[in-house]
């Protein structure tokens, strides 16, 4: 049985030489590394020699990093699949009916709303996924567990992507059209499209919250 100091030395090898940063991977590899070392020490080898042998047996730094990379990839894949499932579950008839009703309402009320007001509402909607991320970051939710760190990375990438998409195709496009209020029907149509886009982005923001609350446990990798 290894002493706590010897275990710390092995842990240091894993974090320092192989850059193992996730607790779950560290737990598993440390146990493996320690078991290999103990096996050689049982044959009267010194701790130094036994751990060197075990390190080589484990594939040294590169092999170990690959295990961590595979772990990240596996979790990321699960997150992506689950996020798609969540989004798919939102796009059912209640969402369609609500959007259709709101869209109709927007079409008829648009002439009474100022272009600037409309633009502001749409812009705020577009920011909602990023607002969720900002709130989580402020509360340090992204640092709670290894899996959450990985989920967070996914959300950050995904949030930026949807915001950019919304900004480029939604806000930018609509902004110029909103200025052209002379053709009121065009303004009505674009306000309705803007509202539909807002609904999509809001649902996307809600999906972030749901996804983050899920307990991925390699039931994430």
């Amino acid at each position: 049985m290894l002493t706590p100091t010897q275990l710390d030395l092995l842990r240091l090898d894993l974090s320092g030489l192989a850059n193992i940063e996730y607790d779950e991977v560290m737990t598993e590899l440390l146990d493996h590394y320690a078991s290999l070392t103990e096996r050689k020490m049982a044959l009267n080898m010194s701790f130094d020699d036994a751990s060197k042998w075990a390190w080589a047996e484990l594939g040294s730094g590169e092999g170990l990093q690959q295990i961590q990379t595979d772990y990240e990839k596996s979790i990321m894949k699960q997150v992506r699949v689950r996020h798609f499932e969540i989004l798919k579950s939102y796009f059912r008839w209640p969402a369609f009916v609500t959007t259709a009703l709101l869209g109709t309402l927007m079409y008829f009320t648009a002439p009474f709303i100022s272009a600037n007001g409309m633009f502001t509402v749409f812009f705020v909607c577009g920011l909602s996924p990023l607002a969720v991320l900002f709130y989580g970051h402020r509360k340090h939710l992204d640092q709670q567990t290894d899996k959450r760190k990985i989920v967070w990375t996914y959300l950050r990438e995904s949030g930026s992507f949807i915001f950019n998409l919304f900004y480029v195709f939604g806000i930018n496009g609509l902004d110029s059209l909103f200025e052209e209020k002379s053709k009121i029907w065009l303004f009505q149509v674009h306000s309705t499209i803007g509202l539909v886009l807002c609904m999509v982005v809001l649902l996307y923001a809600v999906s972030f919250i749901q996804l983050f609350k899920e307990n991925f446990s390699l039931k994430l990798a």
Binding site: M1, L7, T27, A34, G63, I67
Partner: protein, 114 residues
């Protein structure tokens, strides 16, 4: 046995081997699995950590394995065991591989035609 050909042959059957071992034992940890395979094959077959852990993680992600962590010898040890689905899936996959090997054996033992 040649190591590289061994490892490529192992690739497709590693998950079945893990499922079979866990069918036999209630729970096992990573190192224990590698040693068990080594013992059973008298050292002819070795599973590298780089192949074992991703395979374990994948089986866990697929819901076939479940894990629990215990403190053993002053360090955390992660044990894997089969879930209910894992038990069912294991039986199916083992039967499938066994049937495949049987057929493969027939082809390999083909007698040269006269």
């Amino acid at each position: 046995m040649n190591t590289s050909s061994n490892s490529s042959l192992l690739k497709g059957s590693l998950s079945v081997m893990i499922l079979r071992l866990l069918e036999d034992r209630e729970k096992m940890y990573g190192y224990e699995i590698t040693q068990k395979v080594k013992d059973l094959t008298a050292g002819e077959m070795t599973i590298t950590e780089g192949a074992l852990y991703p395979a374990l993680h994948k089986l866990e992600a697929d819901g076939l394995l479940t894990t629990e962590t215990q403190i053993v010898d002053g360090r955390a040890r992660k044990y894997y065991s089969l879930t209910k689905t894992g038990h069912t899936e294991a039986a199916g996959r083992i039967a499938e591989l066994a049937a495949f090997l049987e057929n493969l054996n027939l082809v390999l033992k083909l007698k040269p035609s006269l």
